[in-house]
Symmetry: C2
Subunit: 355 residues, 2 copies
DNA sequence: TGTTAGCACTCTCATCTCATAAGTGCTAAT
DNA sequence: ATTAGCACTTATGAGATGAGAGTGCTAACA
C-alpha cells in the first residue's frame, strides 16, 4: 500500500498534535481542528490504514492513536515543518554567547545551558575529542616530591594534566631541560600521532627515557573521554513533560543519565557527515533507552571542532523546536568563532565545516 | 514533663523501627516485638505523651506514629546505637582505596562512590578549599596568541589554570622570565594571603605589572568553589527508598541536586570542630529542603584537609549506618594518607587532625 | 469506488458504596 | 500505675455503576 498525500497529511497532523498535547489523537479531533471537509469516518479509515502500515498504535480500542517510532522518523524526514525562533529566543542565545571569557569550558557550559533552556529538555554535551587536536604546548612542572606535573594544551585550548613519576636523582633544573626538550619534540603533533610514533620516539631517547615513557603513557590516556568531558544540564526539565509523571520512567531516565559512560555511548558515534542526528528509542541503537530520543548536533566552525551537543528526552519530543534550536545555536557559535578569529588573526579555515 | 527511661526506650524503638520499615509504628507492634511485658495500652499512653512532647506525629488517627525531626535529633544525640560494618563492607572500602593512583581527584571520586554504595544514599562531596592551601608551583606557559596559560599547583596537589592576556610585545622568553619571577614570589604563599598582600605586591612590580595583575585576578578567582568541585554520586539511589515513590519528592530532590550552587550551600558551612554534622530537614537551615536530611563529615588526615563528604536523602535516614560508614571511611582515609606519607618522607604533621 | 451516517461495542475513568482491618483514645476496673 | 475492653476514626481495596470517548463495521449514497 502506498502513502497517499492525504495519508501523509493526516500522519503529520497526528504527530504534530500528539507532540503538542501528549494526548492520543482521535479521528474526531482531526476533522474538527485540522482537516475540515472530510468526515471523521473517512479519517478513521485512513487511520486504520496507517496503523496497518506501522505508523500508528493504539493503547486500547477507544483511546485514539499515537505515533510509532517509525512515524517520528518519517515525520522528521518528510513531514516536519521547522519553525523560526522568536526574537526573544534569538536574543537569549546572543546574550548567552556574548560573555567576554574566551574559555572553551565556559563556552561549552553556556551552549549546553542555552540548549536546555530553549528546548526545555535535558541537555547533554561532550567536548571535542582531544584525540584530533595537536599539541600546542607541553610542559613539565616540578612538584618537589618525586613527581612532576605534566600539562599540555592543544591547539583548541583543551587542557590536560597529570602527575608523572620522575627519577630520584632528577632535580628541578634537569626537569626543566627535559620539559623543553620533550615539549619541543611534541609541539605541533597530534595526540593520535603520538601512539603511532611511539617506538621511534622512545628509541631516540637516552637520557630522559623514563620521563619520556611516562609522558607518552599520560598522552595516551588523554584520548579517552573523561567524566568531566560529559556535561549534563537541566535534568529536572523532564518534569515538564507528562511522560515523566510515571515514576518508572523517571527512574529509568535518571539511571541512564547518572552514568557518564552510558551517556558518552549515547551521544557518541556520530557520523561526521550528518550535522544533526536523531536517535529514537528502540531504533536498534542499543545505547539509547527504549523510551527515549536523543537529538545531537556536532558543531564545527572555522575548522574547529566545538563538540557534540544535544538533548535527551521522551520519544514524543518536540523535534521541530529542538532541531531549530540546535541549528540556531550552531549558527551563533559559528559566527562567534569566526568573528573572534577575525578580530585576531583570521586563521580560520573551511576544512571541516560540516555539509 | 520529663523523659523517663521508658519513654526514651520507646522512642528509640519507634525510631529504629521506622527507619527500618518506613511504616508508622503502632503500640501493638512495639509490645509484640520489642517491649514484651507491658501492655499495648501502657505503651499507648507513653506514645501519647511523647507526641505531646513533640517527638512523634501521626498522619491520621489510626495510622501509628512517626518520629518528628526533633525525635531524630534526640535519637542521634542520645539513643542511637552505632553498629559495625561487616567484613564485606570493610573489605570494600579497602579495595576501593587501594588504587595505585595518588591523584586527589580520583581519590575523591572513590570516596564519594564508596559512601554512596555502602549507605545506599546519594552521596555529595566537596573538594577542599583551595583557599587554605599554599602555592607550591606557579607557571605561565605560552599559548602563542596573545595569551598565556597560568597553572598553579597547591601543596595538596590541587590544580587550577586559566588563560590570561599578556602584552603584545611579550615573547616566549619574556614570559618564561616573568613566570620564574612570579612563581618564585608566590611559592609557599597561601591563596588567601594573596588578597591581603595584593597592593604591596602590585606596587613592587614595574616591568611585569600587567601580567602580575592578571595573575592576581586569576588567583583570586580560585578561592571560589567551582562546579567541578562538587561531586554527586548515585542520584538514582533515592529510588531504593520508599519516600521517593512519590513523584513530587523525586522532583523536589532532583531539582535541589541539579544546582551545584545549592548543593554547595547545603554541605558547606561546617563547623570545623565537629567532624560529623547532621542537618535534618526543616531544622531552620534554609538550604536543606524540608523533606531531606544531610549528613556530612569533613575529613582531614596528616594535617591535610581532604574535603567534605556526605549523603543526602530522606529524613527517615539510616543514621546509624550512615554515620558508621562515614567514620570508617574517615579512618581508612587517614591510614591511607598517613601510610603514604610514611612510605615517602613522613612529612605528616598533626596540626589539624580533627578531634 | 470512495465517502459518510449511524450504531453497537469496548475500554477508561471517576465516583460511590461497602466491608475490613488497623490503631487509637477513653473509661472503668484492678 | 497498669490494663482490659470498647467505641471511634481512618485508610484500603474490592466491586458496582454510569458517563464519555473512540473505534469498527455496515449499509446507504454520490
Amino acid at each position: 500500500m502506498k502513502m497517499s498525500d492525504r495519508k501523509k497529511k493526516i500522519l503529520q497532523i497526528v504527530v504534530d498534535e500528539y507532540i503538542n498535547t501528549a494526548v492520543p489523537v482521535s479521528s474526531k479531533s482531526i476533522t474538527e481542528k485540522h482537516l475540515t471537509g472530510v468526515s471523521s469516518a473517512t479519517v478513521r479509515n485512513e487511520l486504520a490504514s496507517l496503523e496497518e502500515l506501522g505508523y500508528l498504535t493504539q493503547f486500547h480500542t477507544s483511546g485514539g492513536r499515537v505515533p510509532s517510532p517509525q512515524a517520528y522518523r518519517f515525520y522528521i524526514e518528510e513531514l516536519m515543518q521547522k519553525g523560526n525562533l522568536s526574537e526573544k529566543d534569538l536574543d537569549y542565545i546572543e546574550q548567552a554567547f556574548s560573555d567576554k571569557s574566551h574559555d572553551v569550558e565556559h563556552l561549552i557550559k553556556s551552549v549546553s545551558s542555552v540548549i536546555s533552556e530553549l528546548t526545555d529538555y535535558t541537555s547533554v554535551a561532550i567536548t571535542p575529542h582531544a584525540d584530533e587536536e595537536t599539541i600546542r604546548n607541553l610542559s613539565l612542572l616540578p612538584c618537589g616530591d618525586g613527581n612532576a606535573l605534566l600539562v599540555i594544551m592543544t591547539s583548541e585550548r583543551i587542557l590536560r594534566d597529570s602527575f608523572i613519576e620522575i627519577p630520584e636523582n632528577m632535580n628541578d633544573e634537569d626537569l626543566e631541560k627535559a620539559s623543553k626538550m620533550i615539549g619541543g619534540l611534541f609541539a605541533g603533533k597530534a595526540l593520535a600521532e603520538v601512539r603511532e610514533t611511539e617506538e621511534q620516539i622512545l628509541s631516540d631517547f637516552g637520557q630522559y627515557r623514563q620521563v619520556m615513557s611516562e609522558v607518552i603513557e599520560a598522552l595516551k590516556s588523554y584520548t579517552r573521554p573523561r567524566d568531566e568531558d560529559i556535561l549534563l544540564t537541566g535534568p529536572e526539565k523532564i518534569f515538564n513533560h507528562p511522560e515523566y509523571e510515571d515514576i518508572e520512567n523517571v527512574k529509568n531516565f535518571l539511571t541512564v543519565i547518572s552514568s557518564k559512560d552510558r551517556l558518552a555511548d549515547i551521544i557518541e558515534g556520530e557520523d561526521d557527515e550528518i550535522q544533526i542526528n536523531v536517535k529514537i528509542g528502540s531504533s536498534g541503537d542499543k545505547d539509547v533507552p527504549d523510551d527515549c530520543s536523543v537529538v545531537t548536533a556536532t558543531y564545527s566552525a572555522g575548522g574547529k571542532n566545538l563538540g557534540t551537543y544535544g538533548v535527551i528526552g521522551p520519544i514524543r519530543m518536540d523535534y521541530p523546536k529542538v532541531i531549530t534550536v540546535l541549528e540556531n545555536v550552531g549558527k551563533a557559535l559559528e559566527s562567534l568563532v569566526n568573528g573572534k578569529n577575525k578580530d585576531k588573526k583570521d586563521n580560520s579555515g573551511n576544512e571541516r565545516k560540516g555539509k
